[in-house]
């Protein structure tokens, strides 16, 4: 009976949303804010003022940089919250596939995965991917090492310090922009040419920081989900 009611409500919601989407007009890309992002001509100066080849990166880190600082903070708060909840949970999960082969395999694969993660976030302004994707890859390595027999158990404090450090440096870079260019997160490094590795100023620097931060935050999250903090 309750299911029937839920079904009716969700069907009604579907029809309602369908009509709503049909009714709202859709603007072409050329009339949207992002058309200027695509031309890299927000300041109407005629030349590229932002030089990441990956347009999503330039939106995420440059045009809407404050969102990204906030987003990293959400993750930070969530990881801290999980740690907060789990700090009194003493017992640990023991479903580790800790056979010799798995451990060796994890040891061999994990450096490769970390390298991949680092590659992804260093090239975040050139190719798809960036700090979040690379950071997640690193966190997945942590997960692998954990599942293969708790190989990262004693490294927890390192992750927490890394998390705090990269976050502080991120904010400090933002404040430096305020001091140099008069606006928080102002891009004060030389911009270079589109498509080169050393281009677009502070964007790759911040993406590397985000990579480290997201990587350590998600690692923390995973490790804390498995049990409390007994350091």
């Amino acid at each position: 009976m309750k299911k029937l009611l839920a079904l009716i409500i969700s069907l009604a919601l579907f029809i309602f949303l369908f009509q709503l989407v049909m009714e709202t007009p859709s603007k072409l890309l050329s009339e949207r804010v992002s058309s200027r992002y695509v031309q890299k001509n927000v300041l109407s100066s005629g030349e590229a003022e932002e030089t990441s080849a990956n347009l999503v990166t330039s939106v995420v880190l440059s045009y809407r940089g404050l969102d990204t600082l906030g987003e990293v903070t959400v993750l930070f708060a969530a990881a801290t919250g999980v740690a907060f909840f789990m700090k009194n949970v003493k017992e640990r999960l023991n479903f580790l596939f800790s056979s010799f082969i798995v451990q060796t395999g994890a040891r061999v694969v994990s450096p490769l995965l970390v390298t991949l993660g680092i590659y992804i976030f260093i090239h975040g302004h050139l190719t798809p991917g960036g700090g979040f994707q690379g950071g997640t890859t690193i966190a997945i390595t942590t997960l692998l090492l954990y599942v293969a027999g708790g190989l990262v158990e004693r490294k927890r404090t390192v992750f927490r310090t890394l998390e705090g450090l990269s976050g502080s440096v991120y904010v400090l870079i933002g404040l430096m922009g305020l001091a140099v260019g008069g606006a928080f997160l102002y891009n004060f490094l030389p911009l270079g040419k589109i498509g080169e590795l050393f281009s677009s100023g502070i964007v790759p620097v911040i993406y590397v920081l985000i990579g480290i931060k997201v990587g350590s935050e998600l690692s923390n999250l995973v490790l804390h989900t498995t049990g409390g903090d007994n350091s």
Partner: protein
């Protein structure tokens, strides 16, 4: 191409229903993970490679792990 799209959408619909409806919580998480992977594929079709990478790594990788750890902690949840 279009046929592929319709198939994917159909499978996603089914997976979504199953993830929500199936009694066994373990299967539910697995269906959710599969749904995430298909969503990542849809993001690729929508020319959003960044989002697709994030969804594949976070949604179907990490989130699944976290949910499975949780499930293990609550001893399968005993859904009855």
């Amino acid at each position: 191409m279009t046929l592929l799209e319709y198939v994917i959408v159909g499978v996603m619909f089914l997976l979504g229903i199953m993830a929500v409806e199936v009694r066994n919580l373990f299967y539910s998480v697995i269906f959710l993970s599969a749904l995430s992977i298909l969503a990542a594929f849809v993001f690729v079709l929508m020319r959003a490679p960044d989002v697709a990478m994030a969804e594949a790594a976070i949604g179907s990788g990490l989130l699944t792990a976290i949910l499975l750890f949780t499930l293990k902690r609550v001893e399968g949840g005993k859904n009855e």
